[in-house]
């Protein structure tokens, strides 16, 4: 059973300055949701707000009938995990220890992992195929590897909802596809709900069940086929340079 998502009358922005107003989205079936929009339209702001990183100006976000934005950090950490672009310079931390951070909400004051925690950590490492460099330092990895470690950390956090903000930036083509396939597997076989913002729209259309399209201050929920049929992406860019070709489902230069 997929978990329902309900966003109602949500106004988001920084310092009382609205970026998007009156967002209303309901999703009962969508398990992998792509968030599309041009730069500066509010994709990140929306994801930060529903992740609890940024307080909303007003409005609600319910996941599985739980009022997410009213939870404490600790409670929220068991409901949703986040992945954004990778960071560097975090110090001497091995991949295994990095993934182990996912168990943070479940461990005692000193952060001691128990058998169950190790089970989750190892499961996440296997799922993301990180066994070969589990003992290497996180800082030494390539961006693609780092991002998989980040996703493994989110998996170890064992939350029903995973929110990813442009996780495939800086990754090469194969790494991008691997990340998308991994996320799809989480949705299909591990019953997770995934919300992912991305500019990799051509792949996302093939893999997502639902798209939230942000354009000119409005957010609407559409199926991938609706996006294609109604030529929403050509409209999104509204530009002389490119259009979205229905037949090949890809962008073409004009």
């Amino acid at each position: 059973m997929s978990k329902s998502i309900n966003i109602s009358a949500l106004n988001i922005g920084y310092d009382k300055k609205n970026i998007l107003t009156n967002i209303n989205l309901t999703s009962n079936e969508g398990k992998m949701i792509g968030v599309f929009g041009r730069n500066g339209q509010g994709k990140s702001t929306l994801l930060k707000t529903i992740s609890g990183l940024l307080p909303p100006i007003s409005g609600q976000f319910y996941f599985d009938k739980i009022n997410v934005l009213a939870l404490s950090e600790k409670e929220r950490a068991k409901l949703l995990s986040i992945v954004s672009t990778t960071q560097s310079g975090i110090g001497a931390i091995t991949v295994k220890d990095y993934v182990a951070f996912g168990r943070f909400p479940y461990t005692n004051w000193l952060g001691i992992n128990k058998a169950k925690d190790y089970q989750e950590i190892n499961k996440a490492i296997e799922l993301c195929k990180l066994q070969d460099f589990a003992n290497r330092n996180y800082d030494e990895l390539s961006d693609g590897e780092k991002q998989k470690v980040n996703i493994a950390r989110a998996i170890a956090q064992n939350t029903p909802l995973i929110i990813l903000d442009e996780p495939t930036v800086h990754l090469d083509l194969i790494n991008k596809v691997e990340v998308f396939k991994l996320l799809k597997e989480l949705v299909k076989t591990h019953n997770k709900t995934v919300i992912i913002s991305t500019h990799q729209m051509e792949y996302a259309l093939q893999i997502c069940d639902e798209i939230w399209l942000i354009n000119e201050g409005k957010v609407e929920s559409l199926s991938p086929s609706e996006i294609i049929e109604k030529e929403k992406l050509t409209a999104l860019f509204n530009d002389d340079l490119i259009h979205f070709d229905k037949a090949s489902q890809s962008f073409r230069l004009k």
């Binding site: 930060k48 950490a77 975090i90």
Partner: protein, 347 residues
């Protein structure tokens, strides 16, 4: 990450033994020669051969060595927490101007009150408590300024420059206060700025010991949250850390520790930056549950050694401790900067 490796256990034990040895050496060395076995027997409460020996041990050397222990552990732990909190490998209580803030508090307390025409004793402020509170308020003030602007300053070097600017402004203000103060007050303040473990009295130690003990214990308890800070604030928050609360707790711990140590021992530089780096190098770990105890023990050892150097045989007078820690610390910091080419891009 959960079970400290044998190498780390060995390092901790070695450092603990080092602490005992250097503590003993610090008691042994001084302008008056007292045989070591006599010192031990005096410590165990046996009557001394000479009355003066007992006074030297209990009124001078023991408080001094204890001050080194408190000072070394507190300042090092502060440096570790600030480096993680500011995500800045060069953060420390001295370089960011926190010690200067404490100094301003002390300057106002020692000299400023009379500048306003009131004497501290006249209005009946208990001097020790007064100095400590003034010092803590001073360091808290600087930390608050730094944190209020840190969001806008992403670059590590900018934060450091800001810290140095704050330090300079404070020095200027202190200069003005000095200009208007009496000779005796001026002298006691100048002595204080040199950093001096000799001046710490037993009364002050009674005040300082519980503060440092509680501060260092709380720092250890904060280890789990500090570890999450390594991933950056957004990830830390998503893992369940209450960022606002834990940040306030860390700021309070560092201000109270820096403030109270600085109040009685004077500003002691660079220990806070250097020791956490040494701890990371020794353990090859970024885990605060390992780094905190390691930093405490290393800090104690280095300060005891610095104190021993400051009273090397042949010197009638003690060298200023702050000069010793600067001479040890600054080359090390330059080395950190040269080694870490990406230091400016760490954010």
């Amino acid at each position: 990450m959960d079970q400290p490796s044998n190498k780390i256990k060995f390092t901790l034990i070695t450092l603990f033994i080092g602490t005992l040895i250097f503590f003993g050496l610090d008691l042994f060395l001084g302008s008056v020669h007292i045989p070591f076995h006599k010192i031990v027997s005096i410590l165990f409460g046996h009557a001394p051969e000479k009355e003066s020996w007992q006074i030297i041990i209990f009124q001078s050397r023991l408080p001094r060595a204890f001050s080194a222990v408190l000072c070394g552990s507190a300042l090092s732990v502060c440096g570790l927490q600030m480096q993680t909190l500011f995500r800045n490998p060069l953060a420390g209580p001295y370089i960011l101007g926190i010690s200067s803030g404490a100094g301003l508090g002390v300057a106002i307390f020692i000299m400023g009150i009379s500048f306003l025409g009131i004497s501290a004793t006249g209005i009946n402020i208990p001097t020790n408590e007064g100095i400590i509170v003034a010092s803590i308020l001073g360091s808290l003030g600087v930390l608050a300024i730094l944190l209020s602007v840190i969001k806008r300053l992403k670059d590590i070097m900018t934060v450091l420059i800001l810290g140095i600017m704050i330090g300079s402004v404070i020095t200027a203000i202190i200069g003005i206060i000095q200009y208007f103060s009496h000779d005796a007050q001026l002298k006691s303040f100048i002595m204080w700025t040199m950093g001096n473990l000799n001046a710490v009295t037993n009364d002050q130690l009674m005040l300082l010991t519980p503060i440092v003990f509680i501060g260092v214990t709380l720092s250890f308890i904060a280890s789990k949250n500090l570890n999450a800070y390594l991933l950056g604030e957004a990830y830390a928050k998503s893992l369940g850390v209450n960022i606002k609360r834990s940040r306030i707790v860390i700021i309070l711990i560092t201000s109270v520790l820096t403030g109270s140590i600085t109040a009685f021992c004077g500003p002691i530089g660079f220990i806070g930056i250097v020791v956490p780096h040494l701890a990371r190098m020794l353990s090859n770990s970024s885990d605060h549950r390992i780094l905190t105890p390691l930093t405490v023990l290393l800090g104690i050892n280095i300060l005891l050694i610095s104190d021993i150097i400051s009273q090397l045989p042949g010197l009638d007078q003690n060298l200023p401790l702050n000069s010793i820690t600067s001479l040890i610390g600054i080359p090390f910091i330059i080395w950190i900067i040269l080694k870490n080419k990406k230091i400016a891009n760490l954010n």
